[in-house]
């Protein structure tokens, strides 16, 4: 847990969030403080403790494999920033 060494620029790239140099600097300091606080969890012995992913675990929640109505095409596209011909328009991905 190298708390102070968080590489904000790299993590922001992983998260796909563009940051200004000022934001990077500010975040590095704030996250350093927060990670320092979080270090306290290291003090606890968690050997043989099962992790909790959900407080009320339910398993195998399924529905019948049947077709049913879904969101109409036009409704699904209604909020798109760019669309044409019933499709989302995105920048070119392959040459």
């Amino acid at each position: 847990m190298a708390a102070a060494e968080i590489d904000v620029k790299y993590v922001a790239h992983l998260a796909r969030v563009a940051l200004t140099p000022d934001e990077e600097k500010k975040l590095a300091a704030q996250l350093g403080g927060i990670l320092g606080y979080i270090e306290k969890l290291k003090k606890l012995d968690v050997t043989n403790v099962e992790p909790t992913a959900h407080a009320v675990p339910l398993v195998n929640v399924t529905r019948a494999d049947e077709t049913r109505p879904s969101l109409p095409h036009d409704d699904a596209l209604h909020n798109a920033p760019k669309q044409a011909g019933g499709l989302f328009i995105v920048p070119k991905i392959v040459e």
């Binding site: 790239h13 563009a18 704030q30 403080g33 979080i38 968690v46 992790p51 409704d75 920033p81």
Partner: protein, 489 residues
Amino acid sequence: MLNQLAISELAAKLATREVSAREITQSCLDQIARVDGQIHAFISHDSPDALAQADAADKLLSNGGASLPLLGIPIAVKDVLAVKNQPLNCGSKILGKFISPYDATAIEKLKAAGAIVFGRLNMDEFAMGSSTENSAFGATRNPWDVTRIPGGSSGGSAAAVAAEECIASLGSDTGGSIRQPAALCGCVGLKPTYGRISRYGLVAFASSLDQIGPFTKNVSDAATLLGVLSGVDPRDSTSVPVPVPDYSAALDGKIKGLKLGLPKEYMIGGLDPEVKAAVDAAVKQYEKLGAEIVEISLPHTDYAVATYYIIATAEASANLARFDGIRYGARVDGADPIELYSKTRGSGFGPEVKRRIILGTYVLSSGYYDAYYLRAQKVRTLIRNDFLKAFETVDAIVTPTTPTAAFKIGEKSDDPLQMYLSDIFTISCNLAGICGISLPCGFTKNPKLPIGLQLLGKPFGEEALLKLAHAYEQNIGWHKEKPPLTAGA
């Protein structure tokens, strides 16, 4: 003024046709026009649509169809729940001009019960915050003192009920976001057990912690709304198929012999003396009413905030990946998709959301997963076990909702860790997946600000929780106190 009344009072007047749904709705809209310039609880509201819903309710009432529990009652909604054909922004710029294409299950249920569903209530962006200062639409102010925060993240929902701009409202609670603002604004706020209310149509922040819940003027109204909102939903695989009891029937005042646990770890340094005195007095009152007070221990309390800020940010970093400028919301163009995503998210998200996405991405990243996320999930087990053990001997747990009354706007906005620590009493409840309620238990002297009492209950133990809350409320009557700002009408 009709907007000052509770659901129970209005339902009786509507049933006898003494008042109309239109009159009730109009009185709420008038109150918004009168006070919301100072409070800013609402991001937006559609008055003609609300009045049209009211007219439809009046038509149903005159046709004798008055058996619906919320028929003609105006209920406002936090800007995190989808209401068909209404805007949804989550207090953020990144959703642009988003209009919901469908109703959340909770909204469907409100409408089916006859409620007039209106307004978009302000919140911390994506429910991340404890003060409603992190909204792209500006801060909400506390109706008791407009220089102070209303709490958060559901600050608009709490302030709107306290300022009598609606009869009740919905919010969401991931680490205290219903109970903490309810405490600071002096209303009743209920966070149900995880899985009690469907999350379908609730924009996800931390999926294993989020729950929808009501803000009301009294405990009886909270029971009414919980009954309407609860139940399993095939569209939310985490909703739990536990039968929905008649919560209102539980409000019989019979609390003699019920055991209330007082966790010794909650009487910490940093707890304001006036808050402590109010909670101590409430505990004494419970003893007088026949409840038995037992000291209990929740030994892992001190680790809750750290555990929460790993789990919640990790889940948020995954959930918020969908805001990428492709399918909905605002878009900032880039030369390739990655640049488009980064620029869109860099300009669309506010500072707190960026902070949490970066932290969440970091704790999940290669080489750190076991040290942070997995360890936090194990500590979560220890925290949950503390509660389950306590509930072997007590029926509910009593604590302050917050360490202090409402703080000043701007006081903690530059220090995220201090802001996080203001949630110290509410966070464990979400990690353990149990239910909790905050209700008024007094006021600070100067200035006069509300203090909240928190009761925590067993998983799906809402009946006992509401029973206990109602018995205290009816005996003491703090809920009848109103902010000075509402008096001038």
